[in-house]
């Protein structure tokens, strides 16, 4: 019913292809009244959302069920939002232009904290009551999943339930329970009570939180029997059995990652102490070469994509990487498909591998040593040694590369000015390595090294979860010190906005008192905080102020081991005692070997599979 007006809006906005749907392989099922409907919402624009693997997995999987229809919803860009508001059009799904509020279930995927304002804004545009207590029979259930769902307490007043862990199995159980609940005359609360018993479901309204005078948490307890004290994440042990979407939607417009993404394994064996992804996906589970090659072949045939990338946290840790690449090249070379390999680790990057990839495409070289000195790299357990970095870049220079990008974090625990200055020294050594290569082997006369630093954000479920973040002023001091120390004009130094990183820390480690701040911020116009053209720090500060909340409490305070953390309810399978031990080892500058070298006994073996039993 809104379609005609919606079309008129599209004539007045930029990039209308964001809103039209109907792409090849998109699924259009008739929504009959006996079916269940799920609106899969991505809290960012189309081209960002469509680059994301998780949405593709669940979208195709749920639409294979006869009793369910799953449609996509993205955040409209500001121009479209204004047009829709003018015409009185609520947020609509992409497939059938159905108002989102008419769906049975509205599910958001939480990829990063800075998308929370978009979730609030999308609920508003949809006309769904913002707070769970305001929702009635006839309103959809709002749920969230994805990597941030383990610690999304700031959204607790707005979200009916969270899904912890891999959604592939659990989705079916949730929808089955919905089918039985629907039309039974039971209350919304009764539905939530049913699903609270499903492992991996967290219903925040079933927990009461009390605070101490100093604002720390005094108690965090379930208020009814169906709610477990700790909610354990769900994982799928046999990764070969998991659903791999092959008939991927092929967008009309260019999206951020416009290619086939082949997920080799989930998790990471490394255990870098700042990296949340390295812990929440434990244990590492791999797919077999056979399964991957089959899926790759089918995806190529079904999409016509001209590029394929291997996507995992640390691709070069895949046990059969060479075999896999050989098999994939057999398919891709003939079809003129580019195979790209992101996130190669410095320590096992080799000439042979490089040449293999070069056969199809030569992309720039990127390394992330993360810290400038060996001492600090030991603290964060980033097992990259300077010699290895220099050796690898030398090989690369001999292979014809002459541009290197180096990524670092600033404000890491125990960081001194020497560590900061070490970043510049390391960049200098890479430049020296270039000139060590005989001129006839080098490509081009000169070399450029781009150094980027970002502000470290302490994250829940890492050994650094108790750490304070550096103040913005401190970061600025360090960045300008480093900038002054870099005199070589072949080094380009960039550093990133720290106000966003500060808010990221606040919302990553925040509790449910931040829900009202989010609502106020959106009222003031905050949205798309990940986009520099929208991010408005002043508005955020105003939102904290009127709600009487001090954001520094969450980001700048050193937390004691005995404190109750706002995310303690979630059990990701890695023990708190392990995080404490790792935190202590960090201060002793001791590294911890990877899961394949020696198991560190983190607790994830309780799931009974993956790398722990290799």
């Amino acid at each position: 019913m809104y379609k005609k007006k919606f079309e008129a809006c599209l004539k007045r906005v930029q990039k209308p292809a964001r809103y039209i749907g109907n792409e090849f392989n998109s699924i259009h099922k008739e929504m009959t009244s006996d079916m269940m409907s799920f609106a899969f919402c991505f809290p960012d624009v189309y081209e960002v959302g469509m680059s994301h693997l998780g949405i593709k997995i669940l979208y195709h999987m749920m639409n294979e069920w006869e009793d369910t229809v799953c449609e996509r919803v993205f955040a409209p860009w500001d121009d479209m939002e204004q047009e829709m508001k003018k015409e009185g059009i609520p947020l609509l799904s992409l497939e059938s232009y159905t108002p989102v509020r008419e769906f049975d279930m509205v599910g958001f995927t939480l990829q990063y904290e800075m998308s929370y304002s978009n979730i609030v804004n999308m609920l508003k545009l949809a006309g769904i009551p913002l707070r769970t207590r305001e929702r009635k029979i006839g309103d959809p259930f709002v749920c969230c999943g994805g990597p941030c769902a383990y610690h999304a307490e700031p959204l607790s007043d707005l979200v009916d339930f969270f899904i912890l862990g891999e959604g592939e199995d659990i989705m079916r159980e949730i929808m089955q329970a919905y089918k039985e609940w629907r039309g039974s005359g039971r209350t919304r609360e009764e539905y939530l009570e049913t699903i609270a018993k499903i492992e991996g479901i967290y219903v925040p309204s079933f927990y009461d939180v009390e605070y101490n005078d100093d604002n720390t948490i005094k108690s965090f307890e379930p208020n009814r029997d169906c709610a477990p004290k700790k909610v354990k994440k769900r994982i799928i042990l046999n990764f070969d059995d998991t659903y791999i979407p092959e008939k991927l939607i092929v967008p009309f417009m260019e999206v951020v990652h416009d290619r086939i993404m082949l997920e080799l394994f989930r998790g990471c064996i490394r255990g870098c102490r700042f990296c949340q992804a390295g812990y929440i996906y434990r244990p590492v589970r791999e797919r077999s070469v056979k399964r991957l090659v089959g899926a790759a072949r089918n995806a190529i045939d079904a999409t016509g994509y001209e590029e394929m990338t291997l996507s995992s946290l640390s691709t070069s840790d895949y046990t059969c990487l060479f075999e896999l690449i050989d098999e994939l090249l057999k398919i891709t070379v003939d079809k003129r498909i580019n195979l790209s390999l992101p996130s190669l680790r410095v320590d096992n990057f080799s000439m042979e591998l490089m040449e293999k990839v070069q056969k199809v495409k030569k992309s720039g070289l990127t390394f992330a040593p993360e810290a400038g000195t060996q001492r600090l790299r030991d603290v964060i357990n980033k097992n990259v040694r300077e010699e290895e970095l220099i050796r690898t870049t030398s090989i690369a220079f001999e292979g014809g590369y002459n541009r290197v990008k180096l990524y670092f974090m600033m404000g890491l625990p125990t960081e001194t000015d020497d560590d900061v200055l070490g970043i510049g020294d390391l960049a200098d050594k890479v430049i020296d390595a270039f000139y060590q290569v005989p001129p006839e082997k080098r490509k081009g006369r000169s070399v450029t090294v781009t150094v980027s630093t970002s502000l470290f954000v302490p994250k829940p479920f890492t050994p650094f979860q108790w750490e304070p973040q550096n103040r913005i002023s401190e970061l600025e001091r360090k960045a300008s010190m480093l900038s002054k120390s870099i005199t070589n004009r072949k080094i380009i130094y960039n550093w990133h906005s720290s106000q966003v990183s500060f808010l990221e820390a606040v919302f990553a480690k925040g509790d449910r008192r931040l829900g009202e701040v989010l609502i106020s911020a959106v009222e003031f116009g905050c949205k798309f905080d990940g986009w520099t053209d929208f991010f408005d720090y002043e508005k955020w500060m105003k939102a904290f102020e009127i709600n009487g909340i001090d954001p520094e409490f969450y980001a700048y305070r050193r937390i004691g081991y005995d404190e109750i953390l706002p995310w303690d309810y979630a059990d990701i399978g890695v023990n708190k005692s392990f995080f404490i031990a790792e935190h202590k080892r960090a201060y002793e500058e001791k590294t911890t070997p990877s899961c394949r070298e020696k198991c560190a006994g983190c607790g994830a073996a309780q799931f009974g599979g993956g790398v722990c039993f290799e």
Partner: protein, 223 residues
């Protein structure tokens, strides 16, 4: 190598797909279909593909044209049509495949249907009056990106009302089109709706139905 001319439709929401995106859509459909297309030589080989007259974004097309090179004698026209249609999205479909008869450079005009909507009873007389005017000036950017005033009435070759209801009016228009003189139908819609608070040009459904080219002294349907 054999160049084939594909006549295709671009309907419904596909009207919002830009020219560049449409090209990519065809390229991927060809990849999926496995049809033996010719690739250009050189460092970055790509499929050879040209479109006769790109459609403005927001306008549907019932008979658009793309020229694509296939390897000689490996597929029939019927096969090309069938395999591509299986691999194109539903709103973009190949209608026929054949030889290249005319040159795209000879295109001179195109026929459109335009359905106008009004919130109240539509003022047909006023619209008819519009087409009787000698001069309606709009600013138009030329190839050098300089704005110049043009009289759009000189670009309208023919018009007629083909359907009328209480609140809608459907017109058939023939407008100059092609490399030399080109008038976008949206501009005509905008001028018709200008000053009428019950009408909005963005509501208009515009469809390009035919493309004509010069062949000696006569106009021919482009094919």
């Amino acid at each position: 190598m054999s160049k084939r001319r594909l006549k295709f439709s671009k309907l419904n929401m596909a009207k919002f797909i830009s020219h560049l995106d449409l090209m990519r859509c065809f390229q991927r459909a060809i990849m999926r279909s496995g049809l033996p297309v010719e690739y250009s030589q050189g460092f970055n080989p790509h499929q050879r593909m040209t479109f006769a007259l790109p459609l403005p974004v927001g306008v549907t097309g019932e008979g658009e044209f793309a020229d694509i090179s296939f390897e000689d004698g490996k597929v029939t026209d019927e096969e090309i049509k069938e395999r591509l249609n299986k691999n194109l999205p539903p709103d973009i479909q190949v209608l026929s495949v054949g030889d290249l008869i005319f040159k795209a450079a000879d295109i001179v005009c195109a026929e459109y249907t335009m359905k106008l909507y009004s919130d109240k009873k539509i003022d047909t007389e006023k619209i008819k009056e519009f087409f009787g005017k000698d001069e309606v000036i709009v600013m138009k950017r030329n190839k050098k990106k300089v704005e110049k005033p043009i009289n759009i009435m000189e670009y309208i070759r023919a018009w007629e009302v083909i359907d009328e209801t209480e609140r809608t009016l459907t017109l058939r228009l023939v407008l100059d089109a092609g490399g030399e003189r080109n008038l976008k139908p949206e501009i005509v819609a905008a001028k018709i709706c200008e000053g009428d608070e019950n009408m909005c040009a963005d509501d208009a459904d515009i469809c390009r139905t035919k493309i004509f080219c010069r062949s000696g002294d006569v106009l021919e349907l482009f094919r």
